[in-house]
């Protein structure tokens, strides 16, 4: 009785704490305690309460011993328990506790029914073709999604609890034999080191806490909401982290280039996929350096522009009272404001705001002689280019690093840009993602596993591979 009393006292201030008491034939009492909103009411009634009543009527009191009860109650998880701390934790995660008067121990039963939402379409990494499932906040569902695509016994998963208060479960998934054991060990150790953190609510934060270098702006772990993408990365020998409560999985180690990949690229023909990736790489380059080029050319190096082009630029800039550097920074900040406002507002208002704000402010700024037409165009193109980057974290990074580039271009012209660029290359060369160099070229345009699926198409064309199963393989001579 003492255990039960202590639990009651623990939950004295919890209105959702319920205690159901059943009478046994011999006058003893059987108590069932649970937290109401966390438990499955139907399961509790049918598998626990009804079952206990049946046992009480049919058999002798000895069968009510906890060891016997564990075996007789049709619940998927059950264990005898007497430790108050354990019982408290289990009750808080939706289990119920059955205690029969006269015994020291009671029985813990998994009757949890936590709120969950249905699987929905991917919002951020949406695709026209391909799978339309994305992760949800419930980890068991996410794991089911992954095992459904990759039913391999070598897919190991390991749970680690993080956070003193939140007790969030983080699951470390890897394909044994494919993934580098050093990476797995390193991640496991780092996760263990995080056990004392007060609370983690998202994998975005988790990835930052597990990073190799805290001082970089670049994300070194990839977030994805697509189960198929996680499976593909697992096949490539990467490690995935799932976290309860977060609809994003973290994949590592990754290279810079993987942030520019979209999953459906590999579903297209390899030439189209590679072209799209090259396009995105160019877009990233332009969005970082585009405005800086304009500032440098107008401020210092007007010689490099042909006279006709220079005429257009100067005519457009001549009405503006500010130096190009100030003009560019002004416009970039306006674009940033529009973007941030667009993210914060509800979708319907946001679209209107984006169009009206963009056009009205842009047009008015040019007419008022605040900024030049050409610059407006370049900045808008830069913003457009940055939207093609499929990863939101990487897109944010670019937004930030273009500002120092513009300032450097305004200070030292082309040499300033080159200095900024060299700094970036050195910085990126120094980064590692869980020990793997961030700039390793193996995933530049096609990763290893993609080579196995898409590369043979042209390899067989080039090598006239006799084993090619394609009917239309290249013949040794012109056809008749």
């Amino acid at each position: 009785m003492e255990t039960l009393e202590r639990i009651r006292r623990l939950f004295a201030h919890h209105s959702e704490f319920k205690c159901r008491v059943l009478d046994a034939d011999d006058g003893g009492k059987i108590s069932v305690v649970y937290l109401d909103p966390l438990t499955d009411g139907k399961l509790l009634t049918e598998a626990v309460l009804l079952e206990i009543q049946r046992i009480v009527h049919e058999t002798s009191p000895e069968t009510l011993a906890p060891e016997q009860l564990v075996n007789r109650l049709p619940v998927k998880e059950a264990q005898p328990a007497s430790e108050v701390g354990l019982i408290r934790d289990k009750l808080l995660s939706g289990w119920s506790f059955v205690h029969v008067a006269g015994f020291d121990q009671g029985v813990l039963l998994n009757t949890a029914s936590l709120p969950r939402r249905a699987i929905s379409k991917p919002e951020i990494e949406s695709d026209i073709f391909g799978s339309q499932a994305s992760f949800v906040e419930h980890m068991a569902t996410n794991r089911a999604l992954i095992y459904q695509l990759l039913p391999d016994a070598k897919l190991y998963s390991e749970d680690i609890q993080l956070g003193a208060a939140t007790k969030t479960t983080v699951s470390l998934l890897h394909l044994e034999g494919t993934a580098d054991p050093r990476t797995v060990n390193r991640l496991r150790e780092r996760l263990r080191g995080l056990e004392q953190v007060n609370g983690i609510f998202d994998t975005l934060k988790l990835a930052q806490l597990l990073d190799d270098h805290a001082g970089t702006l670049f994300p070194t772990m990839l977030h994805t909401e697509r189960p198929d993408r996680v499976c593909k990365k697992l096949l490539e020998g990467k490690v995935a982290l799932l976290m309860d409560g977060s609809p994003f999985a973290v994949v590592c180690p990754v290279t810079l280039f993987e942030f520019l990949h979209v999953f459906s690229d590999i579903n297209a023909r390899w030439s189209i996929g590679v072209m799209l990736r090259v396009l995105r790489l160019t877009a990233m380059f332009f969005s970082i350096f585009g405005t800086a080029f304009y500032v440098a050319a107008i401020t210092f190096h007007y010689q490099i522009l042909p006279p006709e082009l220079l005429k257009t630029l100067i005519r457009s800039h001549s009405k503006v009272p500010f130096p190009p550097l100030f003009e560019a920074l002004l416009l970039e900040i306006i674009v940033e404001l529009l973007r941030e406002a667009g993210v914060r507002l509800p979708t319907k208002v946001g679209q209107t705001m984006g169009i009206v704000g963009g056009i009205v402010i842009g047009q008015a700024a040019v007419e008022a002689g605040f900024v030049s037409n050409v610059l407006l165009m370049i900045v808008a193109m830069g913003a457009l280019a940055s939207f093609t980057i499929p990863n939101f974290a990487m897109s944010n990074t670019q937004q930030i690093i273009r500002f120092p580039m513009i300032v450097l271009a305004g200070m030292w012209g082309g040499i300033g840009i080159v200095i900024g660029f060299s700094f970036l290359t050195i910085h990126l060369a120094k980064q590692t993602s869980v020990g793997m160099p961030y700039l390793q070229p193996q995933n530049l345009l096609l990763s290893r596993s993609e080579e196995k699926t898409t590369m043979p198409v042209w390899k067989s064309l080039l090598s006239r591979d006799a084993n090619s199963r394609r009917p239309g393989r290249r013949s040794k001579d012109f056809l008749e």
Partner: protein, 365 residues
Amino acid sequence: MQAKGLIHPAFTISIMMTSQITVGMLAFQKYLYKAAEHDAWISVLATGLCAHFVIFLIFRTLAKFEYKSLYDIHRQLFGKWFGSLLNAVLICYWILVSMYVLRNYIEVLLIWIFPEIHVWVFEIMFFVLIAYGLSGGIRVISTVSVIHLLLLSWLVLLLYYPLKEADFRELLPVMQAGADQIFGGMLAMGATIGGFDVVFFTSSRMSKPHRIHRYAQFALLSVNLLYLAMMLLSLGYYSGKQIENNSWGTLTMLKVIEFTFLERFEYIVIMMWFILVLANLMISSWVIIQGVTRIVPLKRKYVFALLCALLLVVTQAIRTGDQLAVLSKLISDCAIVFSFAYPFLLSVIVLLLSGVRRRRKGAAA
């Protein structure tokens, strides 16, 4: 030696190429033409062949010493004191080379783009970036050299424009220059192409060292072909007088390029050359630091700080272009000695010593 810090042997290509193509590439035609006139391309070819032979000798020496750094080879061969003395001489040479590269590139910047900025402003920028790169060690330096080289590689395509204008009848008649003239051209070319001796130092940090040799030969071959193409192109593009009076043969050649949105391409090339010079200086600073820390037990960052201070002071002393030209001549003579003559000498010494040792062993037995 732990396997942790080792890099792939293919990095030899980028490390060698960045060491060989620097400011020399922007202005080497004049000196060759002065020596060998319109047969200067034969000098380029001959120097290239010599360089291939020297690389072969270098790797024979390295293979005998298990691909150790040249600093360690010296100590092993000549003992602690004389070896350290030789190392000190080598370090001085590398300091001179990095000073030559740094100051000449800044000279280009001053002449073409920013006449009003002080030399030390550029130098500080270089030093900060180099320090940032050096803090990551050889792995970062080699990665950066690859990226920077790849980013510059497309510039080769621009040579199409001067090629359109070139008239290769200027090359005729072939073999007008005498052997002494060709040799004079080779001396001028030797300084430009020198710098491949960097493999003496980087090889110790690579995995599978037996594969470095072929990468080194490949890198040298591509550099040679590039220089040969440039020389042939310049001979066809310019008349004799124009080459002789033009200090920046490569840059003025690029002036001919015009797109509808860009012209004066030499500006862009000069600015992009920054990243190549940066990679080059990182490698030579790394070599210097490797040497100094073997002689004096100092932290690497302090060695680099001292190097920066030294370079700042010395380059401040150079005020006029004439002084720079004199210094450059001196350094190019050193480059011939250290890149061509010394590896040859060293391999002969190694050969003799091993012969002596074998005979001694034979006598003892």
